[in-house]
C-alpha cells in the first residue's frame, strides 16, 4: 500500500482583525500549526499501513515555512515529504490549489490511496479533496469515518451522509477525505525527530510539473477573485449592560422574563 496524505499548515490562531479606518488586515503573530483535521487523515493512513503494510508520504502546498508541518508528519511516521512552493502559485483559490496539488501529487509518484482531511481551519471550504480527485480522474468519498477493508484493488469504507451512514466499495487508486474525530491521532515521536535530521523534505516548484503553463496557477488560474475584504457588520441596535454582577444577573433575568423565555 502506498498512501499519500495531503496536509496544510494553518495559522495558529484566528486572531485576524481589519483596521476599521484603513481596511488593512492586522494579524497578530505568525504562529502556525498543522491543520487539526489533517491529524485524523494521517492517523487513518498510519493505521492502514500498520494493518496492510506499505508506507505513508505527505505533501503540502504553501510558503516554504510549511515544511514545519511536513516534518511534524514525518515525526509521526511518514516516510517522505514534499512542499509545493512557488511564488507563481500565490493567490490560488480552491480550483487553482486543487490543480496545483494534483500536479504535485503526480510528481511525487504513484499512490494507491490519497487521504485528505475534512477541511482546513483557515479556509474552511472542505472542497479541495474532491477537486483533486476530479483532476486526477479517480473516485473519491467525503466524510469517511472508517476504512473496513482493502482487498482485490478495492477499498471498503463507511462515510457519513447527513442522515445515514453509507458503506461503499470503490476501486483503487482513489481519494478519501477523513471525517473528524474518527480516531486518536498519534503524537510526533521524539526519537524519530532525532533520527531523521532536518533535510528530509523536498521542494516542488512549477518547473517540476508536467503542466508548466503559468496561466493555470495562482491568481490568474483562479476563477474566483476576492474583490474586497471588510470587517463583519455590526449590529446597530444593541443594548449593552454593565455594572456589578448582581445588577447584571438581575437585568438578564428581567430580560429573559420579558422575552418570555422564562
Amino acid at each position: 500500500m502506498k498512501i499519500l496524505v495531503c496536509i496544510k499548515q494553518v495559522p495558529g490562531t484566528s486572531n485576524v482583525q481589519v483596521d476599521p479606518v484603513t481596511g488593512v488586515l492586522i494579524r497578530n503573530g505568525m504562529e502556525c500549526k498543522l491543520n487539526p483535521y489533517d491529524l485524523y487523515a494521517l492517523e487513518m493512513a498510519f493505521e492502514l499501513i500498520d494493518k496492510y503494510g506499505g508506507g505513508v508520504d505527505v505533501i503540502s502546498m504553501g510558503p516554504q515555512q510549511a515544511k514545519d508541518a511536513v516534518y511534524e508528519a514525518l515525526w509521526m511516521g511518514a516516510g517522505r515529504g514534499s512542499v509545493i512552493s512557488d511564488r507563481r502559485f500565490s493567490g490560488a483559490d480552491v480550483l487553482a490549489t486543487s490543480y496545483t496539488l494534483s500536479q504535485g501529487i503526480a510528481k511525487m509518484g504513484k499512490y494507491d490511496l490519497i487521504i485528505c482531511g475534512k477541511q482546513t481551519t483557515d479556509g474552511d471550504t472542505a472542497q479541495v479533496g474532491a477537486e483533486i480527485a476530479e483532476f486526477m480522474k479517480i473516485p473519491h468519498a467525503g466524510n469517511v469515518s472508517a476504512v473496513t477493508d482493502i482487498s482485490d484493488s478495492k477499498v471498503t469504507f463507511a462515510a457519513n451522509l447527513d442522515d445515514s451512514v453509507i458503506t461503499e466499495r470503490i476501486p483503487l487508486p482513489c481519494l478519501l477525505c477523513a471525517d473528524s474525530n474518527i480516531n486518536t491521532p498519534r503524537l510526533p515521536s521524539y526519537r524519530r525527530k532525532q533520527k531523521l535530521g532536518s533535510d528530509m523534505v523536498s521542494l516542488i516548484t512549477l518547473d517540476d510539473f508536467s503542466d508548466k503553463d503559468e496561466k493555470n496557477y495562482g491568481l490568474i488560474g483562479s476563477p474566483t477573485n476576492v474583490e474586497r475584504i471588510f470587517p463583519p457588520e455590526k449590529h446597530q441596535e444593541k443594548k449593552m449592560f454593565s455594572g456589578s454582577s448582581h445588577e447584571l444577573s438581575d437585568k438578564l433575568y428581567g430580560l429573559l422574563r420579558e422575552l418570555k423565555f422564562i
Binding site: 516554504q64 480552491v94 474552511d124 466499495r169 470503490i170 483562479s222 463583519p232 454582577s245 444577573s249
Partner: protein, 401 residues
C-alpha cells in the same frame, strides 16, 4: 500573469519596514537593502493599496480569456433529497435564488436527480420556480458521486445556467467541488450573503483567510458560477397553494450511468439532538476554565430548556462532541434565542449563529467582537453572572413565576 512589481529606487529602510509590517501574511521580508516577497503571498494587494504609494505596483496583463455571459442564463438550485424527501436547505436556497433572479431578470431552475421522484418534482412547483429539470433513472436511486456528477454535467451542458447554488450538506459538499472542477470554474463555499449584478455576476460573501474578516468574491470570467450555502442561513418562503412552472423530463445517455461505486449498506443514523433545529441554545466558549465548570452551563440550559453548543476550541480540547459545535466548521443554528457565555465571537463562529432571532452575550471584555452581533450585551464575568442567574430563575420558579 499578474504580478507585483517592486520599484527598487523608492525603497528606503523606513519604507521597507513599513511594507514588512503591512503584509498580513508575513510574506514581505528584507534582504540587505532589498525587499523580497515570498511564496506565502496571497496577492491580497494590501501592500499596493495601503502601502507607501509607488513602491509596489500590481501589474496585470490584459490578455485574459473571457466568456460570453449572455449564453449563460438562469439561477439553478440543486435539489438535495433522500428518496424524494427534500432537504429544507433546498427551499431556503430557492427563496434566495428567486430574490436574486429578479435583479438580473433570470429564470429560477431546480435540478433534481433520483429514482421515482416525480412527486418531489411536483412539490417544487409550489416554491416559485420556473422550471424543474428531472433526471429519473433507477441507477440514480442512491447517491453515487460519479453518476451524479455525470448527470449534473449533462444538465449544465444542455441548460447553461449562469449560477448554480448547492446546499452545503455532506452530499452537496462532495458533489459541488467535483462538478466545479470538471468545468474548471469557481466554487465559493458556505456563502453567508449573496447578491447578483445586472451582468449576472454572483457576488458571494463569506468569512475568509481564517480571520475576523469577510471577503466579497466574484467569478468574473467563468460560467457557471458555483456556490454552496448552509442550512439555516437563508429563509424559506411559504409554499403557494397552486403549483406554477414546468416540469422538464431530461434524458441522459445510459452509458454515462455506469458507476464504480458499489453500495454495500445504508444505515439510518439514530435521530439525535441537532443544534440546527434547536429553539433555544446556550453556547459556551473558551471563557470556560475547566470541564467541571460545565455543570453550571448544563444547569442553565436545563432551566431554559435549551440545547448546549460550543466553539471550536472546546471541541479541540475534547470537552464536547463535534455535533455541538456552532460555526463554519460546525453547524449553523437559527434559534429563537441564543445565550453566549465566554465567547469572543470570531467570524467563523458568528457565521454559524448570527441568524438567531435574539442574541444575548455574556463576556467580560467590552471590546469582544461578539458584542458587535449581539442584541443584548452583558459585560461581566460569566462565573458570577451565570450562577446568580440560575439562582434567580430557581427562586422565581419556587415563587410560581
Amino acid at each position: 500573469m499578474p504580478y507585483l512589481y517592486i520599484n527598487k529606487d523608492n525603497i528606503t529602510e523606513q519604507i521597507a519596514k513599513q511594507l514588512v509590517d503591512i503584509c498580513p501574511f508575513g510574506s514581505i521580508s528584507t534582504e540587505g537593502n532589498k525587499i523580497v516577497i515570498d511564496s506565502g503571498c496571497r496577492m491580497c494587494r494590501i501592500c499596493v493599496t495601503k502601502g507607501p504609494p509607488g513602491v509596489i505596483e500590481y501589474v496585470e496583463e490584459p490578455e485574459q480569456k473571457t466568456i460570453d455571459k449572455s449564453e449563460w442564463k438562469g439561477i439553478s438550485v440543486y435539489v438535495d433529497h433522500c428518496a424524494g424527501h427534500i432537504h429544507n436547505v433546498t427551499y431556503e436556497i430557492i427563496g434566495k435564488a428567486r430574490e436574486l433572479a429578479t435583479v438580473c431578470d433570470a429564470p429560477v431552475y431546480a435540478l433534481i436527480m433520483g429514482c421515482n421522484i416525480k412527486f418531489a418534482a411536483e412539490k417544487l412547483l409550489h416554491y416559485n420556480v420556473d422550471k424543474v429539470f428531472v433526471y429519473d433513472y433507477p441507477d440514480l436511486s442512491n447517491f453515487k458521486i460519479d453518476l451524479y456528477t455525470n448527470v449534473f454535467e449533462d444538465f449544465i451542458l444542455k441548460v447553461k445556467p449562469s449560477s448554480i447554488m448547492v446546499g452545503a450538506t455532506n452530499l452537496g459538499r462532495t458533489l459541488a467541488p467535483r462538478i466545479a472542477a470538471r468545468f474548471r470554474t469557481g466554487l465559493t463555499a458556505d456563502c453567508t450573503r449573496l447578491e447578483v449584478r445586472e451582468n449576472t455576476d454572483l457576488v458571494q460573501i463569506r468569512p475568509a483567510f481564517g480571520g475576523n474578516i469577510m471577503a466579497q468574491i466574484i467569478t468574473p470570467r467563468h460560467r457557471p458560477q458555483f456556490c454552496t450555502v448552509r442550512y439555516k442561513i437563508f429563509s424559506a418562503r411559504t409554499p403557494s397553494t397552486t403549483p406554477a412552472g414546468d416540469i422538464v423530463s431530461m434524458n441522459i445517455n445510459p452509458k454515462r450511468l455506469k458507476s464504480v461505486y458499489e453500495i454495500l449498506k445504508i444505515e439510518e443514523k439514530p435521530k439525535e439532538m441537532d443544534i440546527s433545529e434547536a429553539e433555544v441554545i446556550v453556547a459556551i466558549g473558551r471563557g470556560l476554565k475547566s470541564k467541571a465548570d460545565l455543570a453550571m452551563i448544563n444547569e442553565l440550559a436545563e432551566l431554559l430548556n435549551a440545547q448546549i453548543a460550543c466553539t471550536r476550541p472546546l471541541i479541540e480540547c475534547g470537552w464536547f462532541e463535534a455535533k455541538h459545535q456552532i460555526g463554519l466548521s460546525g453547524r449553523t443554528a437559527k434559534p429563537k434565542l441564543i445565550i453566549t457565555a465566554g465567547i469572543s465571537g470570531s467570524v467563523q463562529f458568528a457565521a454559524g449563529m448570527q441568524g438567531a432571532d435574539c442574541i444575548i452575550s455574556i463576556n467580560c471584555d467590552p471590546s469582544a467582537s461578539i458584542f458587535d452581533i449581539a442584541h443584548y450585551g452583558i459585560c461581566g464575568d460569566m462565573y458570577d453572572v451565570v450562577p446568580q442567574l440560575i439562582q434567580l430563575i430557581r427562586e422565581g420558579r419556587e415563587n410560581g413565576l
